[in-house]
Symmetry: C2
Subunit: 666 residues, 2 copies
């Protein structure tokens, strides 16, 4: 290793150490161990331009081991991103650009939010998938405007998580070449040596998935690393994993190779010993001048690459102006004008009871006619979730331009891969599974909300209305669970019309995720009191039916229970009680409305209120007040035909009527 | 194959077909394909006694592919379990013993609830682990009272789920011999051929985990199957997977090998064609007499095995009476008398602020002194979750009597393996991770609640109080999420005393799970107005401090926020307002109290109420009413030292005081 390289690597190490020491909190061990590999990648291979961080054809770099954030911030600092030393000094402090785990900030070079292990790895699979899809769609012979690598740095913890196993298997099946994982095999996890519980042969496992396996290489030998990276880049038909043997806390005389180097500062004494050990005479947070000049070579290489691409793109634009327009539109995350023109008329054809999942399938296909870059699929349930794009191909080695993605029975990675697709840009991803399996994919839904990704999460078979499959498959706590995720909008449409509205909302939400919750069972068409505009759904709640001039009782319902509420209202009218039925497809959207609208729908003076929803009642007190009654399912469901399940669990028109009369004091 | 074997296999096939046809709903394909392997296993290998389904040393049989429930019910029917033909005829109907997916019912031979894919596989790993632990503890030279196999039948879907990957890796590391997985490799999933998305080499993958791989064998050749099962049983040092090539919907002329055989009835015509094709002249639901006699050979074999074991156990009892007593106690799931004697005095030593996770660690170790069969661990966070049993060994090939289990960074399988341990019987399992990672393990927590398993789920680092690790690691919606799971009791203790109480409750809940939610940060000792008895925690909520004779305002808080509420109360007193501070460690337990107690704690006439909890406020309206105010965290957190995070997000004494005064109209 040349001396300048040593200095550069130690610059990364000591910036990381200094950040953690100053914060008195953080993870120094992984940055110290991974600095040589990170240096080699960024200095010689990674295609980026720190002056143009949003460059669509940049290589994507994902630090799946998000706890090594200090290393990422150090890299961004030395390679010219908007990451000044002041921010490094505010590591893990309130309001800094350097939080404990990386938080997506493309302008500063942070491609994705990582920390929950395995998520970044699966995000990278999604990015590599997006790259292939965009190349499949927009590249033209002699005009390769998309052709980049996706790099992911992963730890032992990433490798142990099931979500990465799922994503790796998917990446192998899809033959995602140009996806390169560098596995930091330091043999240490928090409870000590990985011998205790992680004795598997990771290379053999990835080989079984269809990956090419390189190494083990010595993670301190940058020539070995460089060779491995070059070899990996040659492999275009398979994803590649490079196994890198490193030492956690490298350089620390007393902590190298120990779990104690992982999650706490070295401490002033050990930091000093490490400085002595690695001959590092600089004060904290200093990038030596010679190192800065050397880093600049990489930054300059990046600028040239970007210029070359711009030239290439200009040529493309000249020859394929329409394609270029579409490419720009897609990458900017905008929708083409008039994309929703056909949606209103979809309802005209619907004259019989229909499940909202069915309607959703029709809408999805309609949208896909106008929006070329809508792509997604289900976790092996497409015939049930109705999510096949019938006019489109199937994504895979035979057709990288296909819009139908077969995620396999892998809900967790489906969510994380969809996040990666969205993070890459250029594609609007949707996913689908039964609502109960939201439980298998909670972490990526949360991260989509945290990152502000416009993913559309479809969840069908949304209640005990699933019927015979029984309690293991009947969601009860999941609808409310979705509502608890900050930033997520959850929509539970009551019929075909609301389903169209829900999709329209979801498509327009390009910077935050939307969950659409759909029925398995058929729902009758709702007869409404007033004029219906599908944009009423965007209000979150509206009066779907009412009797009399002033409501005496308000019944708030969602989804399949709106029809029960309406029947109850009719019945109550016969008994001389004027009810108002409010359909509330989305709590979040209703809460966003101005007070006057909210009070118009739910007048404070009407205290007699009932909520009806086939899920946990916890939370409904917010809309029905202290005197209200929440009808729902506060237990696990039952295996039975769905009508029987509804009857047995008390979700019936009779029950609503009885409770309403009781509430009303009759 | 002998004719009688063909008849027996077809009996299983047609019972399954008949169930699905009668129910007009269900999954015929897998039972038809797997009937030969199921027959061979049950007829010749499985050690069970259907007259004594609870036999501790029985082989465990797990149908991980729970959608093939009809096959399981058919097996239980023909092999003498309490599963009469009337129940088969009520397949998937309300109140039957034959729900859509198997629901744990040991008396009827159903070892675990399956359906959500991968869970059964991981349960089986837990059962095999429990077997090893019990053998390690109770077997004596010449007296092997525990020595059985754990069998699991798994599908392609099971193999794709990350939870099974995690569990398989763990089983390999722990060298769980006598765990045998039969993998139904039928190459079909719901979206069609597994080629689309599941091209990995499953055998090579399991080999990489350290499993022995047998096959592929022809799933229709019972001699090949028999040989494979015999070979698998010889392997005592590694888990074994037998890859079985089968045809989904075997016997159906038009559906064999097709996805359409998976999840819907064959239909009357195709069922008839299948009858003709397989020469099956019997009417629906008939077990031919000759088949019944043949099945009885297996049942008789089982009875003899049970008798032999009883004799063996009597001898053991005679020689090791104390061990036998402990074994009985453990298997019956009872706690030894006086197990909690030392718990009260634990508090005496605590005089300084302490994190509840620290206290929990002390309590756990105290309990482990008296309860030998308390075993568990964390998902690679033990130093942080404080869950090491310091006086006990580490479970693994070197010490199968160790009580500390290293689950690795595998939260999802940790939960499912713990469920398996509990299902096996003989061990009280606990798990631990950060509360945010509850999101990685929602499905097993739900299933523990559904099955009524006394697992103790510990979740530390329970709020934004986690501090610098930031929003990816700060739970916000998880506490309320736990409360939404029917049958789960969630406890969030406010200090050392409540932590002791929480553990006592959890240990006593042997037939339902408990989640204990603990702080990372230190909490001051609470000064209480009245006498404190740790059993007050069991009331769910109690008055922890109050001023004046009649409360003018009630502040309800949980966990780390109770101290804030108390400080606010002191402050309010100075301002002339009498507050009552209610600590509410558990919603569920409070809701269970008689009305008089609930109204004593929260008198209906006191409308001025505030809740304080560092999590989503949704749901708190239930206790604070329409006029109340919920203080919480309705957004994602921030990376900062925890005190800063609390301040920034408005969880402060000042805020509570201000809001209280506003509410009170001052």
């Amino acid at each position: 290793m040349k001396n300048i390289e040593k200095i550069c690597i130690n610059t990364l190490r000591f910036l990381s150490i200094d950040m953690v020491e100053k914060a008195k909190s953080g993870h120094p061990g992984a940055p110290m161990g991974m600095a040589p590999v990170a240096y080699t990648l960024w200095q010689k291979h990674l295609r980026y331009d720190s002056s143009n961080p949003g460059w669509p054809d940049r290589d994507r770099f994902v630090l799946s081991a998000g706890h090594a954030s200090a290393l990422l911030y150090a890299l961004l600092h030395v390679y010219g991103y908007n990451m000044p030393v002041e921010e490094l000094k505010k590591f893990r402090q309130l309001g800094s650009k350097t939080p404990g785990h990386p938080e997506r900030d493309v302008e500063s070079g942070i491609e994705t939010t990582t920390g929950p292990l395995g998520q970044g790895f699966a995000n990278a699979v999604g990015m590599a998938l997006a790259e292939k899809w965009l190349a499949g769609h927009y590249n033209q012979p002699g005009h390769e405007i998309i052709n980049h690598y996706t790099w992911v740095l992963a730890s032992d913890g990433d490798m142990m998580e099931g979500v990465s196993s799922e994503a790796a298997s998917l990446a192998g099946a899809l033959a995602l070449g140009k996806l390169i994982c560098i596995y930091d095999d330091n043999e240490i996890s928090i409870e000590g040596s990985t011998d205790k519980t992680f004795t598997e042969d990771v290379g053999a496992r990835f080989s079984a998935y269809g990956w090419r396996v390189i190494g083990p290489v010595d993670g301190n030998d940058i020539e070995q690393i460089d060779t491995a990276l070059n070899t990996a880049k040659q492999e275009k038909d398979r994803p590649v994993i490079i196994i890198c043997k490193t030492c956690i806390g490298y350089g620390s005389p007393n902590k190298c190779g120990k779990a104690s180097a992982h999650g706490e500062p070295l401490g002033a004494d050990e930091a000093e010993l490490t400085r002595n050990n690695l001959n590092w005479g600089y004060p904290p947070f200093v990038v030596p001048g010679e190192a800065a000049s050397h880093f600049k070579k990489s930054t300059d290489r990046g600028k040239q690459a970007y210029s070359a691409w711009c030239k290439k793109y200009e040529q493309y634009k000249a020859v394929f102006p329409e394609e270029a327009d579409q490419f720009d539109l897609a990458l900017e995350g905008r929708l083409p004008g008039g994309w929703d023109q056909g949606m209103g008329s979809l309802l005209e054809g619907i004259t019989k009871p229909v499940a909202t999942r069915e309607v959703s399938g029709v809408v999805l296909n309609e949208i896909a006619k106008n929006i070329r870059n809508l792509a997604g699929g289900s976790a092996d349930l497409a015939p049930s979730t109705k999510t096949i794009l019938t006019e489109k191909g199937h994504f895979g080695p035979q057709d990288y331009a296909g819009n139908n993605i077969h995620f396999g029975v892998r809900e967790h990675s489906m969510g994380a891969v969809a996040n990666g697709i969205s993070l890459h840009g250029g594609i609007i991803p949707y996913t689908a599974t039964f609502l109960i399996f939201y439980d298998y994919m909670r972490p990526p839904v949360r991260l989509a909300a945290m990152m502000g990704l416009g993913v559309v999460f479809l969840f069908t078979h949304d209640s005990i209305g699933l019927g015979e499959d029984g309690p293991t498959h009947q969601p009860v706590e999941q609808i409310m669970g979705l509502r608890l995720v900050p930033g997520l909008v959850t929509l539970r449409p009551a019929d075909a019309a609301e389903t169209v509205g829900a999709w329209k909302i979801a498509m327009n939400r390009r910077h935050s995720p939307t969950a659409i919750v759909l029925t398995r069972q058929k729902l009758p068409l709702i007869e409404r009191s007033g004029q219906f505009d599908i944009d009423l759904v965007a209000r979150g709640a509206y009066i779907v039916r009412e009797w009399g001039l002033k409501p005496e009782i308000i019944i708030i319902a969602t989804g399949s229970e709106v029809q029960l509420a309406i029947s109850a209202g009719i019945n109550l009218k016969e008994k001389g009680v004027n009810a108002r039925v409010v359909s509330m497809p989305s709590w979040e959207l209703f809460d966003e409305q101005e007070k006057s609208y909210r009070q118009m729908i739910l007048p404070p003076e009407v205290k007699a209120r009932i909520s009806v929803e086939a899920g946990r009642t916890t939370g409904w007190q917010r809309y029905i007040g202290e005197d209200g009654l929440a009808i729902g399912v506060d237990r696990f469901g039952v295996s039975a035909p769905w009508q029987m399940a509804y009857g047995y669990l008390g979700l019936t028109v009779e029950r609503i009527v009885d409770e309403a009369l009781r509430l009303f004091g009759r």
